[in-house]
């Protein structure tokens, strides 16, 4: 346990944060269970709900099928965000 009085040091990053280009858009992949989250994404469309277009859905038979290697692979190849839903 850390005592409440102990000073918390700010983490120092090894690199300077990169400049974000003006037209930059995050690239996001979503892993969705066929039965619930994928159905929810469909319903969002049926109800004409709007959300940013930079999310692409990969359908899985169950969120239990989500393998850690998929997430690592996505980040390894430069994805900006992974959204797991199920």
């Amino acid at each position: 346990m850390t005592a409440a009085t102990e000073k918390i040091e700010q983490p120092v990053g090894p690199e300077k944060p990169q400049e974000i280009p003006v037209d930059w858009k995050a690239n996001i992949v979503a892993f969705a269970c066929h039965y619930c989250a994928f159905a929810a994404a469909d319903l969002a469309g049926v109800m004409r709900l709007s959300y940013p277009s930079n999310v692409k859905v990969v359908r899985l038979p169950c969120s239990g099928k989500l393998d850690h290697s998929y997430i690592l692979r996505a980040f390894e190849r430069g994805i900006d965000g992974v959204f797991a839903a199920g």
């Binding site: 690239n27 992949v29 066929h34 039965y35 619930c36 994928f38 159905a39 994404a41 469909d42 319903l43 969002a44 469309g45 049926v46 109800m47 004409r48 709900l49 709007s50 959300y51 277009s53 930079n54 692409k56 859905v57 990969v58 359908r59 899985l60 038979p61 169950c62 239990g64 099928k65 989500l66 393998d67 290697s69 998929y70 692979r73 996505a74 190849r77 430069g78 994805i79």
Partner: protein, 1011 residues
Amino acid sequence: MTRITPQQESENRIGAVLVVGAGIGGMQAALDLANSGLKVHLINDEPSIGGTMSRLDKTFPTGDCAMCMISPRMVESSRHPNIEMHTMARVLSVSGAEGNFTATVEQVARYVDADRCTGCGACEAKCPTKVFDVFNQGLSKRKAIYALFPQAVPNTRAIDPQKCLYLTRDVCRKCEKVCDADAINFEDKDKQFDLQVGSIILTPGLKTYQPEIRQEFGYGRLKNVVTSLQFERLLSASGPCAGTVTRPSDGGHPKRLAWIQCVGSRNSHNSNPWCSSVCCMYAAKQSIIAKEHDNEVQATVFYMELRAFGKDFDKYIDKAKNDAGVIYKRTMVSEVVEDPETHNLFIHSVAEDGTLINEEFDMVILSIGFEPRTDAADFADIFGIDTDEYGFAKTSKLAPVETSRKGVFVAGTYQGPKDIPETVIQGSSAAAGAMALLGERRGTEVKEVVLPDELDVEGEESRIGVIVCHCGTNIAGTVDVQKVADVAAKEPGVTHAETVIYACAPDGQQRIRDLIKEKNLNRVVVASCTPRTHGPLFQDTIREVGLNKFLFELADIREQCSWCHMHDNENATSKAIEIVNMNIAKTNRLVPVTTSSVGVNHTALVIGGGIAGMTASLSLVDQGYAVHLVEREETLGGLVRNVRANLEGDDVQIYLADVIKRVQGNSAITLHMGTTVDKVDGFVGNFETSLTNGDSVAHGAILIASGGVEYSPEEYKYTESDRVVTQRELEHMLAENEPEGGKCYVMVQCVGSREEPNNYCSRICCQDALKNSIAIKEKDPAAQVVVIYRDIRAYGLKEDYYRKARDLGVLFFLYTPDEKPNVEPEAEKLKVTFPGKVLGKEMVIDADYVVLSTGLRPQPDVEKFAKKFKLTCNIDDFFLEAHVKLRPVDFPSEGFFLAGLAHAPKNIEETIAQANAAAARVGALLSHESLSVSGVISKHNRDLCMSCLACVKHCPFGAPFIDEDGRVSHNEVKCTGCGICAGVCPAKAYQVNYFRDDQITAMIDSVTDVF
């Protein structure tokens, strides 16, 4: 009643069933029948199937979304090859008799051609006429051409002829102009046709009470007074305010919400005399969900009695009280008054101490009850069945789904008020009745589809065809579909890409079939709508020309692209390109998937020789299957042996004797008495069970009806005095001896129930108390009967008996668990004292008898028993079903079914209904010659497997197992393809067909290819 079916008579019987009403009960009956090989005509008067359940937001006690549960059922019903749907139709007349009816059906004009309509909805957008949306309970508007609700099945729009400008005033026709599929047909006429069926199941559903009648609550006059069904729509994410509850007067977010219970129920003056059975629970659910939506909500429920009598219902009420902070006030509301400035509402009520209270609320919800439909009397006439005095279909409590006309069955709220699982149970139960009647005619009315041999594409280079659908303007209006096709054409493995106006329309599907042949395609990607509804359709299409179903992928660029990125055409087009390319990447790696099948042993093993097990066994043999019935005692009958009569007065012992006689006299039932199950091996369709007496039984399904026990009390000096008896003992006393004149009986309810460690309602004790009270008073009006209770749970039509008991002079006094009555045996009498809530004084009664309403308990050794089957129980040790709402008699493990007290406390009527329901589910399974194993399953590679047992531990279905050689093997029959094993396997020994790691990784690589 068993139907002894002579062979010659069955020849004239028709292997088809008419199901009237396509709510959840009708769909359940239809699916069970269709799965057993009978043809089903499913009739519904609305343009979509779904019924009342489709209007609900969430369901108690799990809080699951109603639409998420019912939607797959609707799709399944519409796609089932043995089910023919007739929407916007009603039955005009029925002739004939059991086994061979002719029903004349009228189908009103829809004005939209279902074969052409693609469900795109372009017509609806252009229609200028707005009308009140009945589905949303008048809270919003819809168009004159409409879908009943967004997830409607079929998704063909319909035109309301009373509202359509062209049909009423001969102008407009805008829908016709905008429809690219030429589906609008103003020439459409009402049609009549005849259907030949062997049996009829009535599931017409309900009407809700019109609360305008109770003027003191102000419905229709005060804007912020809504019905509970309107509140469901307000809560619903697909409702009129997209799930953010707003109040009608000003669109503000209401914080102080009040529910008034029993509006239209339990009042024979200006409402219905019965209890509607569900309102207590849905009010708790709505208050919990409202709180989930907005944490500042303070809910108050004004109620008369909390009837939380179902499985885990009391726990749900506790959750409402303790977690959601719902305030429950036991009081009758005299009126609701509006503040004319703020439109806030004042509720006048009387507090427990007698003071008058006037509380302010932002919104008031009236918990309206059920009643038979307005046309219930005519409806009964059409089918020639009797109704009770209220208009519900008349049935016996010992044959709860049989109407007065042979071959016509009833299920759901038309038989009496009930909730979803009981409706589902009755749906299956009615199906069992029809299956028993028409068992020998299975498969005679259904068509068999002959398909060409599959093409061998192994080792071939990918030749993918990509079809990008315009969906009218639904996709093409936002996404540049031509550009999507052009980009796709350049992707690796793609041979051909083009666009079509409607891929799902008959001409679109023909184009796909033609392209496969012309271009010699060996894989297909369709970019259109969701694979959830349209995937199977296209898979069938490619299979018809010889391509394996799994050489197909559907890229969802409508629901997940064009519809949610409207007016952002450029980004929507890039996203569509990415989605299509992801799916092309996956499709390049798709391989044919073969579906294997296993044979089915047409024998059932029924465990438990009580009323549930025997009823189910008789239904199964009537359907044509053999049964092994195992009972660990030496006698049949179970707990019912101790019951003389039910609340409604049927002689249970005569009934039981008849059932036992029929079971013992039936050569298809093999009895195994005085023994129980030792060990179960095998899987669905092929079980091998050894019994403790050394016998071994081969069977295809297992039905567990192992029952429970009656609680033997220690409370209230039961063990000290002979004059403290249980309800069961009193029942015997009353039956054997005339009551001595003028005695005083004090009944204490909830003995051993609704309190830790048995914090559940035993459901039958209130009925027992009413039954015995009425019996005493009828035999000896001078006798005094006092019932000390917490809530009288006389649900549904049993309310009549509660009223009757009061009319006979039975006195009812309330107690709370923190102030229980005290029983003190004295020389002659028993002194009963308890705090009198109404008078505010201690009450003292000198009783001759104290009668304890003791509850039901699970079997004491149920945990050990459950382990033999790897089945689970709830916290109270009752077996846990696959799904509390929609699969109430199934276990999660395939081939295992459940009925009776082993599931939860219930009365004889409910046990019989559930036993027959389980028999229908078992029968539908056993009717198959073989069971095909789903294609999307996990494949186990033993060469990679280290037998670490991660999969064995995590699989919810028990598919991986430790084989005889001590290493892991995988039973594909049990596998559902969820892929949890693949996720946890450190050696990657599992790959799920159609979702293999290389296929998913290809999608990830594609989506990250932008750099």
